[in-house]
């Protein structure tokens, strides 16, 4: 299986907004990015400056790449699915078509694609489903079976475009309020699907708590798990050390690793999931006493 690796092709450029459409609780946004699109793999993200020239916001915002197209009417494009959440994302989603933003990307690791066909289960929470559709296409094209489970708190927060649904072998939806699909959480469905389709690998993207719960299930069922995580990032390019998570590396050493460089896609079994907000015991250089 190809290992995920850091994208070394990052560039910084102005990206023109080609389209900005509200879809449920999100905005589907398309940016003209030239050859930035050529080097983008499913799981990579971009980082965008927010607030315009007089902005009081000094940090970029990271967004997982939903789709990237090499060439089209506008040259290369990158598509994002953005939730208008706080100051920065509200500013971004409010921009009219033809505005330009300052974009850095593609950044981070991407999902590893097996060299042989496998049975893959893709699990997305909220806008976390976005990067999974491009991944599904890739997996299908090399002959894998792809089942998908998408969950959110409520119907408007399920991002599942029609063409995406068509590609996959099966698509299940859960909402916590039952407003669409099954009432409950994505993890409620996983054991059954894993068994039924002899799943080899889970690919996931969504809130940390969801990813942690998926890892438990992956462990129980002895399946691989590649998770795309989301920690607060100040720089997105590996220079600030704010975005760390406890990761056990190949030599078995536990380190606080940068999720923007060693992630966002990581091997789920290497993460110490329970220890957000603390330095796990045994971490290299942990505080004494």
């Amino acid at each position: 299986m190809t290992m995920k690796s850091i994208n070394k092709k990052a560039q910084q450029r102005d990206a023109e907004i080609i389209s900005n459409k509200k879809v449920g609780a999100y905005h589907h946004m398309v940016f003209a990015v030239g050859d930035m699109a050529t080097f983008a793999y499913p799981g990579n993200f971009v980082a965008i400056s927010v607030g315009g020239p007089n902005s009081s916001m000094v940090l970029r915002r990271a967004f997982a790449i939903y789709r990237a197209h090499d060439r089209g009417n506008y040259g290369g494009t990158i598509e994002l699915v953005v939730a208008p959440h706080g100051q920065g994302s509200k500013w971004l989603t409010s921009l009219p078509v033809h505005s330009t933003v300052d974009m850095v990307g593609p950044l981070g690791t991407h999902f590893g694609i097996p060299t042989e066909p496998v049975n893959a289960l893709l699990v997305g929470g909220g806008y976390g489903s976005a990067p999974l559709f491009g991944l599904a296409d890739l997996l299908k094209s090399q002959g894998s079976r792809v089942d998908m489970v998408i969950g959110a708190s409520t119907a408007g927060k399920i991002y599942a475009p029609l063409e995406g649904k068509r590609t996959v072998n099966s698509m299940s939806v859960t909402t916590e309020d039952g407003s669409t699909g099954l009432r409950g959480r994505v993890t409620d469905l996983l054991p059954k699907i894993i068994d039924e389709h002899s799943v080899d690998i889970i690919y996931s993207c969504g809130p940390m708590a969801m990813l942690a719960a998926i890892q438990k299930i992956a462990d129980q069922h002895h399946v691989l798990h590649q998770a795309s995580i989301e920690e607060s990032m100040a720089c997105g390019i590996g220079v600030c050390m704010t975005c760390v998570i406890p990761l056990r590396d190949e030599d078995g050493i536990l380190r606080m690793s940068r999720s923007c460089i060693d992630g966002p896609v990581v091997d789920g079994s290497s993460v110490i999931w329970d220890s957000r907000g603390s330095i796990p015991h045994g971490t290299l250089g942990e505080p004494r006493g």
Partner: protein
């Protein structure tokens, strides 16, 4: 701009231009090299390194604030051995100017670090980050205690020998920064780095608790620039001949000029790099242009220009 002499110096160290990375804001340099050639800037100031590996503080480690940010990294790093075998050679081979920043938890530790650097070739200077808790004195930060600050610098001076310039980085969180400056200058500092972050806190109004894992954090970015300019101006007024590496909220050439006119001999860029990976190049080019526009032909003539009578 062809005729503009941009060379800069700090003590005996010479640099092709006065724009440096700020410690902790460029890791050990490698990560920025995909955005520009590291030889394009004055120097890489590496993230403060300690004797042993260090995990740093728990997450969340950052909070955005108006025109600034808080960080509580807690000096995460691989320790001096790993650093000297991996990070330094990479930079030196590529021809970067390197300023190594060191941090300790005791006077003794600073000595150990300085001794290790003594034999390392290719370094331009050592930056001594004294904004660290002194475990031997109830965690009182060295930079906030003039006599502890002095002891650190004396120790580094002794352990390092006489070659490399020592730049001592001061904290603005003191009643009188010129007092601390005076102590460390007397103790043998060849230059000062002004300013480190201000102690701050953000409370998450949803969890209704401090937002950072480490509760307090260091405030940086444009928000603190007026404090940096004031600190540099005050120190320059009192000690006109000590070189100052100025930093605090510089994001463009105009910002850099404020610090230069206040008295900085070189400028370090921290937080701005997070918002713009090529901020250093932007600052460098805008600065050269603005100084040329104002009739300067040599960068060095602009240093401390706001003090003229």
């Amino acid at each position: 701009m062809v005729d503009f002499d941009f060379t800069a110096s700090l003590g005996t160290a010479r640099f092709p231009n006065p724009v440096f990375t700020a410690s902790g804001c460029a890791s050990s340099g490698k990560e920025l090299s995909q955005f520009f050639n590291l030889t394009e800037i004055g120097a890489i100031v590496t993230k403060s390194i300690m004797v042993k590996p260090r995990s740093g503080r728990p997450t969340p480690r950052m909070a955005e604030t108006p025109s600034g940010m808080l960080n509580s990294i807690g000096l995460q790093g691989p320790g001096i051995d790993d650093f000297l075998s991996n990070d330094i050679p990479w930079l030196v081979e590529r021809g970067s100017r390197v300023v190594v920043s060191i941090a300790g938890e005791s006077v003794e530790e600073y000595g150990v670090l300085a001794r290790r650097l003594r034999s390392v070739s290719g370094l331009s200077a050592v930056e001594v980050n004294i904004s660290c808790p002194n475990v031997e004195n109830r965690g009182a930060v060295f930079a906030c205690d003039p006599s502890a600050a002095r002891a650190v610098v004396e120790q580094v001076r002794r352990s390092l020998g006489g070659e490399l310039p020592i730049i001592v980085k001061l904290s603005p969180d003191v009643t009188d920064i010129t007092e601390v400056a005076g102590e460390v200058i007397n103790a043998g500092a060849d230059g000062l780095a002004l300013i480190n972050t201000l102690l701050g806190m953000v409370i998450d109004i949803d969890s209704m608790r401090p937002k950072l894992g480490g509760k307090t954090g260091g405030l940086s970015g444009p928000a603190i620039r007026p404090v940096a300019v004031r600190a540099i101006y005050q120190v320059r007024a009192k000690f006109p001949s000590i070189p100052i590496l100025g930093m605090g909220g510089v994001a463009n050439g105009r910002d850099a000029l404020e610090l230069i006119f206040a008295g900085a001999s070189a400028i370090a860029i921290g937080t701005a790099t997070f918002g713009n990976p090529t901020a250093l190049i932007k600052v460098r080019d805008e600065m050269a242009q603005l100084l040329t526009d104002r009739g300067f032909t040599r960068f060095s003539d602009a240093i401390g220009y706001a003090h003229r009578v």
